[in-house]
């Protein structure tokens, strides 16, 4: 077996679930039609089984030869089975067997698996190691085989077999408890409780048990279903006390008579299915009501026909006359760019009417604090934002292309080929499962139509160009085998591999060591000059801006507050916010002033 996972069947998550508001949870569950139906079914099964003697006058074990395979009738509402016993009575009494067996197994599983899980998770150490090993061993053996040995050697009684099944299922509970306790231990309040002098037993009772409660209910429901299934399996195999009515034995009888009376299979099959399905769906509903379910929503890959950017007619503000002069024509014109995310209380606007231009051979710095929307602006220009984000722009032109009308295929032709992107965090931006060579070669083959060998040769040259000493080795390496600085050089090589006109770099040096930062910046500057690319450099660092930017746009709270040449900006910052940013970054600056510089309404339109 490989690494341990959450042990619950169906992959129940083991995260701690808030224990407060239980009443609220109960009410929410009762409003959920699925949960309500499941509860009703389970209550019906329990009541019908408990009231079996009242509901039927037959002894489930009495054979009447003339009733063999009797059809449905007033006397036998569900007919007679293969040896002339009343089917309804066997179904009702069989429910008892299943419910009692399931309860035994679940109780034993919690009694055996729970305490070691609590202790092991709380104290760790040798006890935990041994308990985990035992748990792994038990889980590696097919349960039903052990049950066969047990039924033969210890007792034909299925209830005793259910005790053993409880032991076999105990690792599930052990792992659940252990995982929950480990999670709680990480929480500070346990430490606080300990510091304040609470004994371990008290801490376990007061802080750990409430957290374990909710997932335990879910786990119990699932184990109950598993136990009913395995018990029925054993009885179906013909094991166990033949005189005890059970759904599994009924299935066996029905299967024997499948050609004569297929209905005999339907009753116990339906009863079992209903009970098991109700138990697991109920467990699921409890989890959902507690908010602990798999709430991960699919991150949709945009479908190729849909434009990534909507045209926003209203957002067109102060249209810029398109320069006729081809020499001076901007590479990229962005007007009224808006990015919004749906939030609990209305849409959240993260980029609010940004307008900027980028020219060939020029480096534009996009500067602002974290959260100012500069990265979102970059991603929007690259068409990399997926739902739930919505992107709109009055105008989004790249060279001769209107990006707002581009479909997925169009974007794929553009990205990588004409616009390159250098990410912030080098290590997380290389696919850990593929060699670096493959990741460099793939886009070149696609965009430039190069052969494998030609693309590889070009990749080697690129790696050499970005200052990697041993390109052959790096090409064969996996991302985890190289350093962060090298990974960033690889990503830069990848971004320029198809000779783009525009390079968008999102904080390309932030994650790097100070010593490497300057080198990488130099590299980007020299590549930009050598290839006469336009470049948009997203950064929060005015040092970087001073180093390589020609023009600067200052962003704050989703808007551009000032655009100027780098020289102007450093010499004579117009906007208070710019001044404040400058003050806080420049060496020998005065102590940082209070952050309340300007309100939203003071923000001036970006000048161009």
């Amino acid at each position: 077996m490989t690494d341990s996972t959450s042990g619950a069947p169906g992959g129940a998550p083991l995260e701690s679930i808030p224990s407060g508001g239980r009443e609220h949870v109960l009410r929410r569950m009762l409003r959920d039609p699925v949960a309500l139906t499941c509860l009703t079914v389970l209550v019906l099964v329990v009541v019908a089984s408990a009231a079996a003697p009242l509901l039927t006058g037959y002894n489930p074990d009495t054979s009447v030869l003339t009733d063999t395979l009797a059809p449905l009738s007033g006397a036998h509402p569900l007919g007679g089975d293969g040896v002339g016993r009343d089917v309804l009575s066997r179904l009702l009494y069989g429910g008892r067997t299943s419910l009692i067996g399931g309860a035994i197994a679940v109780l034993v599983a919690f009694a055996v698996g729970g305490p070691p899980g609590l202790v092991g998770g709380f104290y760790r150490g040798w006890f935990d190691a041994i308990a985990r090993w035992i748990s792994d061993v038990i889980m590696a053996v097919p349960a039903i085989l052990v049950m066969l040995v047990v039924v033969v050697t210890i007792s034909q009684n299925l209830d005793i077999a259910m005790v053993v099944l409880g032991v076999i299922l105990a690792p599930m509970v052990f792992r659940l408890f252990r995982g929950s306790v480990l999670a709680v231990r990480e929480e500070l309040y346990v430490d606080a409780a300990r510091v304040s002098g609470l004994g371990d037993a008290r801490i376990l009772r007061r802080h750990v048990l409430p957290v374990v409660m909710a997932p335990s209910i879910i786990q119990a429901a699932q184990l109950f279903a598993v136990a009913i299934g395995i018990q029925a399996g054993l009885a179906f195999l013909g094991l166990g006390d033949a005189s005890e009515p059970s759904w599994g034995a009924m299935l066996n009888d029905g299967f024997t008579n499948v050609y004569n009376a297929p209905l005999l299979l339907v009753w116990p099959g339906a009863a079992m299915c209903l009970t098991i399905v109700a138990l697991s769906l109920l467990g699921n509903s409890v989890r959902d009501a507690l908010g602990g379910g798999d709430t991960r929503r699919p991150a949709r890959v945009p479908r190729s026909r849909r434009p990534a950017v909507r045209t926003l007619p209203a957002a067109v503000s102060a249209p810029v006359p398109t320069p006729v002069d081809a020499e001076n024509r901007p590479l990229l014109v962005v007007e009224g760019l808006r990015v919004t995310y749906p939030g609990p209380d209305g849409d959240r606007v993260v980029v609010d009417g940004v307008s900027l231009t980028a020219r060939r051979g020029e480096v534009l710095g996009l500067v602002g604090e974290s959260g100012s929307g500069k990265s979102q602006t970059a991603f929007a220009i690259l068409g990399l934002l997926s739902p739930p984000a919505t992107v709109g722009a009055g105008r989004l032109d790249f060279a001769d292309l209107d990006l707002t009308s581009l479909d997925g295929r169009g974007w794929n032709r553009l990205r990588g080929k004409r616009i390159g992107y250098v990410p912030q965090e080098p290590m997380s931006n290389l696919d850990p499962s593929f060699r670096i060579g493959f990741q460099l070669v793939e886009p070149m083959r696609r965009h430039l139509g190069l052969s494998s060998a030609a693309a590889r040769a070009k990749a080697l040259a690129l790696l050499d160009r970005v200052g990697i000493a041993d390109p052959e080795r790096v090409l064969r390496a996996y991302p985890h085998q190289i350093s962060g600085g090298m990974a960033q050089r690889v990503l830069i090589a990848g971004a320029v591999s198809c000779d783009p006109d525009l390079l968008i770099a999102d904080e390309p040096t932030t994650a790097l060591d100070v010593t490497v930062q300057a080198e990488v910046l130099d590299l980007m500057r020299s590549l930009q000059r050598e290839r006469e690319m336009g470049m948009i450099l997203v950064t929060h660092d005015f040092g970087v801006v001073a180093d390589i930017c020609d023009r600067v746009a200052v962003m704050r709270a989703g808007r551009i507050v000032e655009t100027a040449s780098a020289r102007e900006l450093f010499g004579d910052p117009r906007h208070d916010y710019t001044r404040m940013l400058l003050d806080s970054t420049l060496e020998g600056a005065e102590p940082r002033p209070a952050l309340a510089v300007s309100g939203h309404n003071e923000v001036t339109e970006g000048t161009r």
Partner: protein
């Protein structure tokens, strides 16, 4: 990688040893009534004593265990108490059948879980919700119940496929396939459901990863990114779940074999259990655990192959 696999191998061997010992301990609890079963109710005490001696049951437990283990290590699992047939022979006859349905079930589970998990993760919406509900049901309903439904529907009612029996692969590949497809499907449902949910979750996480965005920034289309990169990165955690599910697959086979009248390991275990034929029952347990260990080792190799950090360490 070698170290990783070696550690797994040692753990696997230890597991087989521990389980064999435990099973032997359990089996030794059988009283002398098995001897009665063998010699018959009417046997004289002398006959019973002779048979007991013959089977070695008069020896101390440790001696019995040493004797059994000594032979088992050398690959000899003893002979049946009832028929005198070597256990190895019985296992060799039945193992191919169980392997056929279990491995076919595993294959179906891999293919279907990847497809279902990917569709749920990529399409979202009602497709996702429907898949999740189906997965809850798929993991809950025991495989033998599904086997019964499949047998009644496709074999008994529609008569598309044989209801019972097994045809060896060497005899007729098509008939072999027809004889194992229903049991394999029944076994696959649970593993498919559990693994599909893992694939779904892992894919959703991977698709949010930075490197997927960077791959897209290089102009790699949705399809290529998803198929090559995202699935590859989502695979290792799914394999972990699959390894756990495989144990359930073997357990399920014991009952599913009965439904389809397949004379596999499960049928052998069941028959020997109802007779109290300990050497055979022990043999089936040992073989099942070895099977689990071997398949998990193969899955470990696949895990390492998919995970460069493990492979290159």
């Amino acid at each position: 990688m070698i170290k990783f696999l070696l550690r797994r191998l040692i753990a696997g061997v230890a597991l087989v040893f521990v389980v064999a010992t435990g099973a032997f301990g359990l089996a030794s609890l059988t009283g002398t009534d098995v001897v009665l079963n063998i010699v018959g109710e009417t046997a004289t005490p002398a006959q019973i004593a002779a048979e007991t001696r013959q089977l070695g049951l008069d020896q101390p437990l440790v001696v019995q265990y040493g004797h059994w283990l000594g032979h088992a290590v050398r690959g000899n699992l003893g002979t049946s108490w009832f028929t005198g047939v070597p256990v190895n022979q019985s296992l060799a006859d039945t193992l191919p059948i169980t392997m056929s349905i279990v491995l076919a079930g595993l294959l179906i589970a891999v293919v279907l879980s990847v497809a279902l998990g990917a569709v749920a993760a990529l399409r979202g919406g009602w497709v996702d919700r429907l898949t999740q509900i189906a997965a809850v049901l798929g993991t809950a309903v025991p495989s033998f119940l599904i086997a019964l439904v499949l047998a009644v529907t496709f074999a008994v009612r529609l008569r598309w496929l044989p209801a019972t029996g097994y045809v060896a692969l060497g005899h007729s590949p098509i008939e072999w396939l027809r004889s194992i497809i229903l049991p394999a499907l029944a076994l696959a449902v649970g593993a498919t459901a559990a693994t599909a949910m893992q694939v779904r979750g892992a894919l959703i996480d991977v698709l949010k990863a930075d490197y997927v965005r960077t791959l897209r920034s290089r102009g790699l289309g949705g399809g290529s990114v998803v198929l090559r990169h995202a699935l590859r990165n989502a695979a290792p955690p799914a394999l972990t779940v699959l390894a756990l599910q495989f144990i359930g697959l073997i357990g399920g086979a014991v009952v599913v074999e009965k439904v389809f009248g397949l004379p596999g390991i499960g049928t052998l275990a069941n028959a020997s259990a109802s007779e109290g034929d300990m050497p055979v029952l022990l043999g089936t347990v040992v073989v099942a655990v070895v099977f689990v260990v071997v398949v998990n080792l193969l899955l470990d190799i696949a895990y390492g192959w998919l995970n460069p950090k493990v492979r290159t360490s």
